[in-house]
């Protein structure tokens, strides 16, 4: 279908939309597309080698790498999904921005990044090859490539659905125009282009949505008024406390215990995501030196701590001020709105012409930054960890650069295919969160054991990763077949789906580490000289003690720790 046909089709679809855009709004959206494509074309001449294309020449400053690190995570699902979850679960959703971010991001910066950086690896699977063996790299590389494409497709589908509901745009139009734009600018400028646009998108996301919490708080009468209104609407205090209701599974809307939040979310899922998901780690690895690479996640963690202002607060405000109740997606009939429409509904509530265009641009920017992150990470892992070692080993740099560009297009096309696949099987969307826990939590166990324990062997790493992933899938399947097992895995019959995800990730991490240790004790480790720069104790990590204290990553990590404690105390 041509773009002209798609555009005509999009214009026809306006019967049930929530928002009508003015010419000013449309102009803002068009300028955004022109700008991101222009940046891609401009950066084309700077992506001349594979190192430029896949690692942005390792020239990024700490600020650029840090904002890009965070922006790659601020996808459309992240923005709209967590605003929806806040409407459903209350402020408990903020745990996914606080305990699920600060400790793991600081851990990446201070403990793990030095190994990634000084080993000069191009990717996380690449580190596993250096530390363990080819088999471990292949296992993690293939699973990561599949997961990335699937996540990208799901994001794309979610965005297209929102554009259809909110703006009346045709689903095919949204999918093809947005994804072809991402394909164009990432193919042209590689990681340079992805990072530049992610920083730009970071600003747009913030500035586009910021009007909602500002005007929302005025309408609600400040925090006190907000709490009062929520209490009147839901007759419960559970929605405005972070920790107070986590003593029991049944005492909070999420059906989770504090141990699940601290160990499952903060320990397994968050550490897995922020320290081993190459989608985000790649941005920090593109920094110009080790100090910048360490500062990047720390800078990102400060901003991550205040993202609830534009995601969680709009969800709470919707609970307080919207004159009607939102319902789950499955229960939404004609004239009703689902949880997933919280953020667009709040934008439509407060934004007039111009500001509304900026708000919609923020949602599109969120989608595109998430997709560009997935696609650029996919191209890197596919080229370096699958194509180069297993398909064409001894080719020139120009060849791999060319493959990288084609992989970007391939990644986008596979994502589009996944998006259409999801339109046929909508329930798969529910399983995506689970897929992340299958692969990411055990991967963290494999990486961290290899970094910290000299005795971990190649066979231990491989079988640990396989056992962790396999056990996670087995637990998930078991609960699907016999729901009674939820009480065993999540430790309570009152646990809900979210709690099951958290505990399953924790068990798979523990199983991965135990199997790695057990197999390692019976197999031969690699010689010490092969582990230099890869393992704690065998590596000379450059010291920053000659720097003034305010320039050291650890100083800024302490700052974010204090910020974290204050937030927990305020919203306890």
């Amino acid at each position: 279908m041509t773009l002209t046909l798609l555009a005509a089709s999009a214009v026809q679809q306006s019967a049930t939309r929530l928002i009508s855009l003015s010419p000013a709004d449309i102009l803002i959206i068009v300028i955004y597309f022109v700008m991101v494509l222009g940046i891609g074309i401009y950066l084309r001449s700077y992506a001349n080698t594979s190192n430029d294309f896949f690692m942005a020449g390792r020239e990024m400053t700490a600020w650029v790498a840090g904002l890009s690190f965070l922006s790659a995570n601020l996808g459309a699902l992240e923005l709209m999904g967590w605003a929806a979850s806040t409407y459903q679960y209350g402020i408990l959703a903020a745990h996914f921005y606080w305990i699920a971010a600060f400790p793991s991001m600081v851990f990446l910066a201070l403990v793990m990044m030095p190994f990634y950086y000084i080993s000069k690896t191009h990717s996380v699977p690449g580190y596993l090859r250096l530390r363990y063996n080819e088999a471990t790299r292949a296992l993690s590389g293939i699973s990561f490539a599949c997961m990335t494409v699937m996540m990208s497709g799901i994001n794309m589908y979610a965005m297209a659905i929102v554009m259809k509901v909110v703006l009346g745009w045709n689903i095919h139009f949204s999918i093809w125009v947005s994804s072809l734009t991402v394909a164009a600018y990432v193919t042209l400028g590689g990681l340079f282009s992805a990072i530049f646009n992610e920083v730009l998108q970071f600003f747009l996301i913030w500035l586009g949505v910021l009007v909602v919490p500002i005007l929302g708080m005025i309408e609600a009468g400040g925090w006190t008024g907000l709490v009062l209104k929520i209490h009147q609407r839901v007759h419960s205090d559970d929605y405005v406390h972070l920790w107070k209701t986590l003593g029991t599974f049944s005492g909070n809307p999420m059906g989770v215990h504090w141990t699940g939040i601290v160990f499952g979310l903060g320990g397994a899922i968050a550490c897995g995501y922020w320290t081993t998901d190459f989608l985000v780690v790649q941005r920090a690895m593109a920094a110009k030196d080790l100090r910048s690479a360490q500062l990047a996640p720390i800078i990102a963690s400060y901003f991550k701590m205040i993202v609830p202002l534009i995601v969680i607060l709009p969800g709470l405000l919707a609970l307080a001020v919207l004159p009607y109740r939102l319902v789950p997606e499955s229960a939404a009939g004609p004239g009703m709105h689902s949880y997933n429409e919280v953020l667009p509904l709040m934008l439509a509530r407060y934004c007039g012409p111009g500001l509304l265009g900026l708000g919609v641009t923020a949602l599109i920017a969120g989608f595109m930054s998430g997709m560009a992150g997935n696609v650029s990470a996919f191209a890197t892992v596919w080229t370096y960890d699958i194509y180069q070692p297993y398909i064409r080993k001894w080719e020139t740099d120009a060849h791999y650069l060319k493959v990288g560009r084609w992989c970007t297009i391939l990644g986008v096309l596979l994502s589009i295919g996944t998006a259409y696949f999801v339109t046929q099987f909508q329930s798969i969307m529910d399983y995506m969160q689970a897929l992340v826990s299958f692969f990411i939590a055990p991967l963290f166990g494999t990486v961290i054991t290899g970094m910290m324990w000299r005795r971990a062997t190649p066979k231990g790493g491989f079988w640990g990763l396989l056992a962790g992933t396999g056990s996670s899938i087995a637990m998930y399947t078991l609960v699907k077949i016999k729901p009674a097992y939820l009480a065993v895995i999540a430790l309570s019959p009152n646990a809900k789906d979210m709690a099951e995800n958290l505990y399953r990730a924790l068990w798979s991490l523990i199983i991965c580490v135990l199997v790695t240790v057990a197999v390692s004790l019976f197999t031969t480790p690699r010689p010490a000289n092969e582990l230099v720069g890869l393992v704690y104790g065998y590596s000379g990590i450059p010291t920053d003690r000659s720097l003034p204290i305010y320039k050291r990553p650890v100083f800024w990590a302490c700052g974010v720790a204090i910020f974290f404690v204050i937030l927990q105390w305020i919203f306890w």
């Binding site: 000013a24 401009y42 020449g57 730009l200 747009l204 509530r349 007039g352 111009g354 500001l355 265009g357």
Partner: protein, 73 residues
């Protein structure tokens, strides 16, 4: 001189885009001033404040990271 020195910084692109957006939103809010669109709290004219805010941020970045100015520093 490193290659990064020759590359226009991302902050410049951000400045240009936000300045353009600031102008569009400010002008739209001015045109809309006497009969604001029926949104909640329209009496505060958020478009005017938003437009000025974007102009200030965008203008700062565009000015500070303007290519010619950057070379002189």
């Amino acid at each position: 001189m490193s290659r990064e020195t020759h590359m226009l910084p991302v902050w410049f692109f951000i400045g240009v885009l936000l300045t353009i957006y600031g102008v569009i939103i400010f002008v739209t809010a001015l045109v809309d001033y006497s009969q604001p669109t029926a949104v909640v709290l329209a009496k505060f004219h958020p478009g005017l404040f938003g437009g000025v805010f974007l102009l200030l941020i965008g203008g700062f970045y565009a000015f500070w990271f303007w290519p010619g100015r950057r070379k002189n520093r």
